[in-house]
């Protein structure tokens, strides 16, 4: 067995295993002897801000929130494109202005659609 070419590898493997596991075992023994756990129902509770948790964590958000998300996107994209447009405004040709106008009108159409649908009124 000693003559096997894998013998030294096996020994090294065991040493490596002990190197990792011994500190863990010592820490476990130390905790067992000097720091025993003292659990209670409150300590094992999940929430830790002093209040008792209420209700279920699996709450559903109303699906109408997707409309707010869409409107947010409209204004967000508009602002991103309007800023460089405003900076470069004096150097722009008529075709660029026209393209920008079409873009803004498209977004305004989306806003008008949302307005007509009545989702700008907070329910």
């Amino acid at each position: 067995m000693v003559s096997s070419p894998y013998f030294s590898l096996g020994v090294l493997f065991l040493v490596a295993l002990c190197f990792g596991l011994t500190p863990l075992a010592l820490a476990w023994l130390w905790a067992k002897a000097f720091s025993p756990a003292k659990p209670n129902a409150i300590k094992n509770a999940i929430y830790e801000c002093g209040l008792v948790s209420k209700g279920d964590a699996w709450v559903q958000f109303h699906s109408a929130y997707y409309l707010y998300a869409i409107i947010f996107m409209i204004f967000d994209v508009e602002a991103v494109f309007l800023l460089p447009f405003a900076v470069a405004f004096t150097g722009l040709g008529a075709s660029a202005c026209l393209a920008m106008l079409v873009f803004v009108l498209l977004l305004i159409e989306g806003l008008a659609w949302a307005w007509a649908k009545g989702i700008l009124t907070w329910a």
Binding site: K38, I42, K43, A45, E48, G50
Partner: protein, 208 residues
């Protein structure tokens, strides 16, 4: 078994360091007390000042204020405990890991202070949880909090790991959970925890 102090000093002069598991254990515990990040009222401002550069609580190993009770060793009750807040304080104390210690900071935390006659103020947090060090003052200066902290360190240093007065986590019979009071019709119920508040209540005459 403790080594004789004089012998220890003599050995130290010869370059031999003698100690016990208990001393090492307590030295480790007292040198890295992690307070809970938790302020209640104006005393909390003094507590914050204590942790900052001028007073520097970090010199004593207590700079790591933990935002979670799971990781904290020490609770500084820094300020007025209203009856609305008391259940939360006791609950947080219950959630702290053992061994845990409490410093009641300021007149309000130890007795209700200037608001003692108030209907909504708890007359000392030691009615519900065991307090290790009380600091008077309104608010106590950072030096007073440092003094309280050093007093607590001395207390930890003096704790034996076995026998009477050992830390609570080493005592299987010691209570781990302290009852959380609830809002009753007129007052918190129960109005105190008999295990930590052994003083008899003063009976007032009917005319008072």
């Amino acid at each position: 078994m403790a080594v004789d102090e004089g012998l220890k000093i003599e050995l130290g002069k010869q370059g031999i360091f003698v100690t016990t598991i208990e001393e090492l254990y307590n030295w480790g515990r007292r040198s890295s007390i992690w307070p809970m990040q938790f302020g209640l009222a104006c005393c909390a401002i003094e507590m914050i000042a204590t942790t900052m550069a001028r007073y520097d609580l970090a010199r004593f190993g207590a700079e790591v204020f933990r935002p979670s009770p799971r990781q904290a060793d020490m609770m500084i009750i820094s300020g007025t405990v209203t009856k609305k807040m008391a259940p939360q304080v006791v609950r947080l104390y219950n959630q702290m890991a053992e061994p845990k210690y409490v410093i009641a900071m300021g007149a309000c935390a130890i007795s209700g202070g200037p608001f003692k006659q108030g209907y909504n103020v708890l007359k000392g947090i030691d009615r519900y949880i065991p307090v290790d060090v009380h600091i008077p003052g309104c608010p106590p200066r950072p030096e007073a909090l440092l003094h309280a902290f050093i007093t607590l360190q001395k207390k930890i240093d003096g704790q034996h790991l076995t026998g009477e007065g050992r830390p609570r986590h080493l005592d299987a019979n010691a209570p781990g959970e302290f009852p959380v009071p609830v809002q009753g019709e007129h007052d918190l119920e129960p109005s105190e925890n008999g295990l930590v508040w052994p003083l008899p209540a003063v009976k007032m005459g009917s005319g008072v």
